[in-house]
């Protein structure tokens, strides 16, 4: 399918995709003040990439994020989540204790949840993209 011959699709997607990705980042990092968080942000981010893949084909989308890169990020997100918990142990607290992350426990809690949600966001986005690739590239 060639999106080049269809200016409406091409232009709308060019307009929408950056906005979707930016909105994902907003939902991600504004999650502790308003509705949102890692899971929602990850899904929104992935939907931006999936829209691109639907219009331009998986080959071009894989130049942006390849399947292997998505798998790597899926692992990195989980490691970030579990790693910050272990970091709490190393700083003398219990697992997932954010109080010890900074001098001020309130800031510690803030940082802890921010990083953990980032981990969730990265993993969810990466997993949804790789699920999409798995179906889109499925051949009998």
């Amino acid at each position: 399918m060639s999106v080049r011959k269809n200016p409406i699709l091409r232009e709308t997607s060019h307009l929408l995709i950056p906005a979707i990705l930016l909105f994902a980042l907003y939902v991600q990092f504004h999650g502790d003040y308003g509705p949102g968080g890692g899971f929602q942000a990850g899904v929104i981010f992935a939907s931006g990439i999936i829209l691109y893949a639907l219009l331009h084909g998986t080959k071009r989308a894989e130049k942006v994020i390849s399947l292997n890169l998505a798998k790597t990020f899926a692992a990195i997100g989980l490691l970030l989540y579990a790693g910050i918990g272990v970091f709490g142990i190393l700083l003398g607290g219990n697992y997932l204790d954010y109080n010890v992350l900074t001098q001020n426990p309130v800031h510690g809690q803030h940082w802890g949840i921010l990083i953990i949600e980032l981990g969730v966001g990265i993993t969810v986005a990466a997993v949804i993209i790789s699920i999409f690739y798995a179906f889109a590239k499925f051949k009998k």
């Binding site: 798998k71 790597t72 899926a74 692992a75 990195i76 989980l78 490691l79 579990a82 790693g83 918990g85 272990v86 709490g88 142990i89 607290g93 219990n94 697992y95 997932l96 204790d97 954010y98 109080n99």
Partner: protein
Amino acid sequence: MIGSHYPILQVVIPLMAAPLCSLLPRTKLPWLFATTVSWIAFVISIMLMLKVNTNGALIYELGSWPAPWGIQYHIDAISAFVLVVVTTVASITLLASRQLVENEITATKHSLFYTAFLLCLTGLLGIIATGDAFNVFVFLEISSLSSYAMIAMGDNRKALTASYEYLIMGTIGATFILIGIGLLYMQTGTLNMLDLQVRIHEIDGFRSVHAAFAFFTVGICLKLALFPLHQWLPNAYAYAPSVVSIFLAATATKVALYLLYRVFYTIFGFDFSFDVLNLGYILLPLSVIAIVISSFTAIFQPGVKRLLAYSSLAQIGYMTLGIALGTQAGLIASIIHLFNHAFIKGALFMCMACLLTYTHSTRLVDLAGAGKTMPWTCAAFVVGGLALIGMPLTSGFISKWYLILAILEKDWWWLAAIVLFTSLLSVIYVWRVVEQLYFRRPRPECSYAKEAPPLLLACTWLMILITVYFGIDSSYPIQMATSAAEVLLR
């Protein structure tokens, strides 16, 4: 200092190892890494058991949030015992797995397979370690989803339908458990198991608490594959890759049984489960039917993996029978059989894996004459089979002995007769395999078969020696099961 973190490290080390494993290249490395991690988990579980034996129950607060609000990990005698069982089986299975995974799973999927294995291990360990009801559900899903994926990796196309069946049934089971948790949370406002134990007694008599109990029982029995909720199990075990059969047969249903103990004894309490709701009336007939029907079905199976799967269903029946007696002796018998059967069935499925490396089939007729070409493997199968039957000097005898003693304590002679009769049925199905192995002429195309790879064979014999050792000196499981039963019945 690090010692106080063992309860969480037990779960977090395999959890963090799983994503790392998925990033490893296509070499021996994923196997080496997963095996090392499982042995680390094994060492931690031993340390936990030693600490629990000297200091009593361990409590670990996640994020330092105090008990009813935060998630609490709670390791007492029963959880420490089951943790040791699961980590031991996982370590031996992973050590033995390299050749099997190379034979049965596409090279590109090796690292992902070990990732799924580690996630499954994480889930099982998490269910045991946690003291929080909702956390149990989360870990149940982690272990179930990864085992669906692993079963689907079997090289027979039927593995896909087997995995799908298990997925549907497993999801229904998990949903029931979640509904049970939800009802309890609605009534008590807490998810902490120890806190639930206290609060349920304050609101005794509510219909929704009874409903929660029912949902828990049915949901866990689905996971446990108790008759008549067992339909998913034979196919799942038969078509899964052999490593997965070994691991799941030895651990997955055992962890579900552990969960059953937790719900019946820790959350709802013995009095509520057995006196108010008369659990024994429903569990006893179901266990007896499971033992009798599954043993008969096992006799007529054409494939050895299916035969062993049906035998597993019968053994699960023995374990729930122990619970259904509603006595301390029955509970101890059930816990001892949990321990012994994990190693017996692990060893037998490992023998099947050995045979599979050369015969490429687990159909009974295709194993003809393997006793000549693979003497060590077949000898291991014979010893494992004797343990399954319950011959003296094997751990199976200890299980049966304690179960029958517990039954006679209640003066139910007819039940003791049924247990002995079904042991005779297991003689028949074990004999059918032994007859094929030793008393038939080998197929011409299998006459070149030689002994299984040394590491795999060594691990098989390690499992067998464990069963024999605990058949001769059974003080460890009996002592652990007794203190576990005391903790549960407190």
